[in-house]
Amino acid sequence: MITPPIPVQMAPSGPTARTPLRRWLARIFTMEFALGVLSVGAVGLIWEYAQPMGIPFIENLPPLSKIAQTSRQLLSSQLYWEGWQYSLQRITGGFLIAQAVGIPVGLIMAMNRASFETLFPIVEILRPIPPVAWIPISIVFWPTRELSVLFIVFLGAFWIVVLNTIGGAANIDPNYKRAALSLGSKPSDMFWRIILPATVPSIVTGMAVGIGIAWEMVVAAEMVAGRTGLGYLLWQSFEINAIAQCIVCMISIGFAGFVSSQLIRIFGSYVAPWQRR
């Protein structure tokens, strides 16, 4: 039946053949890579020499070398690492509570019509209010500042996970449920083996968006209501006109956000291995 494959003429090996090292280098040093290095380098150079060159607006910033020097000082100070510690605690706490409450609420709303009709109006009224707008009320409402910051972080991640869970669980292909019924799934099988796994990808998407919003919220809440944390340190640096320190804080927060999204991505590929590409 199957005819043997036609032998393919291989490229002659010799001095022109590419060694593994050269192939590896060629894969990394592509045109895209060169352009990336060029653009980042250009921005760095403009920033560094903005003051002597008198480039408008950018000349008000401390040069890059000053930033590097400040970050060396800041990174060896206890204040800075305490800031990290507090912000991380708030992010972790608020984000995890948002998942622990939001995922079950979303699942219940998706599976039970009455609870959906009851809760959805409340969700739709409260959700459009930006979490930042909650800060004053939150300070009045919660007994400690710490709790009010935690609450703002929670709000940042909560709505998105609720909506994503509902969206995922309500849009499961009905044929999966039918197939499961035919295959003899009991109601508990239906939940644990069909509805929950089918919803996991949407939940992970909600987490990925939610962690980003949570970082925005922790910075905003610490600026306004906090006494510690990276957001607080950032605002304090601005108050004492330590702009270089401000920028180091900004970069730190950006880095923290990046690491958190990567962690969510790793978590996602662990809980939804079938989606790995």
Partner: protein, 277 residues
């Protein structure tokens, strides 16, 4: 060849009226036919003739509004009886319903394990044997998402057969496949049918596919769906692609096309009228 154990399907005066916004769409009207145990029955008819409605009623997904359906003299669906899906009637869906979050092996064993009919170990042994017999053993650890359309169909048929159903229900299972893959999967189904003959209820639009597979073809009218004619296909088994050009095949095809053509025209014209309104 194994002996056939039961699986007589009897459809008696089945009727179904959909009532969205008082439109009273009659999907099925007075449909009666019998499938003897182990018979390969193919239903053909124009789009919207109620073929899937009928399959859903037999599968237990949907309620009839009149008449009844019996399997081995046991009433399965009746106008006043809420239907129940069961492992004695396995469905292979048009779009496919392998669970994407589970590996091929788990998909294949989940039926008997959930019903408590086999232990996980026994089910795995049996599944490996069946997958091996049909040349699918290499893919057991893969997720369905990484398989081709033809592969998925084959795995889904194996999953259905693992439950040792009385009746296998297939709703245009090969519709989305290209012509070459389709003929391979058709031969695969026939091969399995020859090994373990089951009562099969198979829906299609494709007349050649119907004749190639069937013992008996039930031709349905355009809406309201009724049985127009049943045609017996007395082509000996096992069959392969050579059957497709035999004089007997062409003679039956001619006969079926004559019945179907007028119905297809009616359905087409009705569609035009609906558009014109």
């Amino acid at each position: 060849m194994q002996a056939v154990r039961g699986g007589a399907v009897s459809v008696r005066k089945a009727g179904k009226v959909y009532d969205p916004e008082g439109l009273n769409v009659v999907a099925l009207e007075d449909v009666s036919f019998e499938i003897t145990p182990g018979q390969f029955c193919v239903v053909v008819g124009p789009s919207g003739c109620g073929k899937t409605t009928l399959l859903n009623a037999i599968a237990g997904f949907d309620k009839l509004s009149g008449g009844k359906i019996l399997i081995d003299d046991e009433v399965l669906a009746r106008a006043d009886k809420a239907p129940k899906p069961g492992a004695d009637r396995m469905v292979v869906f048009q779009q496919g319903a392998l669970f994407p979050w589970k590996t091929v092996l788990w998909n294949v064993i989940c039926g008997p394990v959930q019903q408590g009919r086999l232990s996980q170990k026994e089910a795995i042994t049996q599944a490996r044997e069946l997958l091996g017999r049909v040349g699918l053993s290499k893919i057991e650890e893969q997720y369905p998402g990484s398989l081709s359309g033809g592969m998925k169909r084959r795995v889904e048929i194996v999953r259905a057969l693992m439950n040792d159903p009385k009746v296998l229900l297939l709703d245009e299972p090969f519709r989305a496949l290209d012509a070459l893959t389709k003929s391979v999967v058709q031969e695969f189904l026939l091969e399995l049918y020859d090994i373990t003959p089951k009562t099969i209820f198979f829906i299609t639009h494709d007349i050649a596919e119907a004749i190639f597979l069937a013992d008996r073809i039930v031709i349905m009218t355009t809406r309201p769906g009724r049985v127009l004619k049943t045609v017996t296909v007395n082509i000996p088994r096992p069959r392969d692609y050579r059957v497709l050009t035999s004089p007997r095949f062409l003679q039956i095809e001619q006969e079926v096309r004559e019945y179907i053509d007028s119905e297809a025209r009616k359905a087409f014209n009705a569609g035009e009228r609906e558009l014109a309104q």
